[in-house]
Amino acid sequence: MSRVIVVTSGKGGVGKTTLCANLGTQLAKSGLRVLLVDVDLGLNNLDVVMGVENKIVYDICDVVEGKCRAKQALIQDFFVQTLYVLPSNHTYTNFTISSQEISKIINEVEYMFDYILIDCPAGIDAGFHRAVASCSEAIVVTTPHISSVRDADKVIGLLKSYNFNYIGLIVNRARGDLMVSGEMINVETINDFLQVDLLGVVPDDDVISTQLLTGGGVNMDTPAYKSFYMIANKLHNGVDMVYDCTKKYKGVFGTIRRNLKRMV
């Protein structure tokens, strides 16, 4: 029985797709069979983030229309053999998919995977409900900004009505230096407001932008890589460790590092 998890946020541009790609990569690297599903119809980005956009033959709409079987639409990742992507359609059409059809596709391929991560579209309209309806667990992504936390709060309220087994929170683009100097809302405050399990913290790291140039998951020894590893470890093994992005900015050396960063 695979774990079907939706990655959602409410607000757009907080890093759902990037998180989905990197979390999937980390899980797959530990030998788990992982499928990433893009249900953002017409605005597909997951295939680009994963760097497999040129390998697409069939997409999710073709599966629904019966042009192919779900298995035929799956694209294997270049680097991690146990990681697959089910892309969304890349052209705008009036074609819509119901939540039942998404559930049917997931049921069809569920036996092949340990984890199915669904990349939810931004917003809380039909696309959100379509993505959420077939999942039993949810990850809510937010950034340390008021607008993003507010939207995350609304999304958590909506998710509660779906009776999820688990709702986890990920704070993305956390700036440790700003949190220590009191210029950014810290992770504890966000978690106090939202009152869900803190699954992880992803620091604001240049390597993520670099990763998007070539596609695929972050595979270097960087803070972002460590944070994704910790999130995957907590999700799969239950190891309750969250990346502390403020650690290197505390103390005497931390103050020097912070001031240097401000000067540069």
Partner: protein
């Protein structure tokens, strides 16, 4: 900087509390009907006798108040 953070945290708190204030209106009637259904098993009560309020506290939690005027409890055979 700490002052700015305090202002920001307060803004966030106010935004979230104001958002929560909209929610009770949506479920109030449904919740009242459900509570009435349960209470009717134990007492003689009509919709007018039940006063249900959901308020948001200053820390962002909900406070639910149920006030009911009941003239008679039902005598249940199973209770001795």
């Amino acid at each position: 900087m700490q002052n700015e953070l305090t202002v920001c945290t307060e803004r966030l708190r106010n935004v979230l509390i104001n958002d929560k204030k909209d929610n009770p209106n949506k479920i109030l009637n449904v919740l009242k009907s459900d509570i009435l259904y349960v209470l009717k098993n134990y007492m003689e009560i009509s919709s007018d006798d039940l006063d249900l309020n959901i308020n948001v506290t200053s820390v962002g939690t909900y406070k639910i108040t149920i006030l009911a005027d009941v003239t008679r409890l039902k005598t249940l055979n199973c209770i001795k």
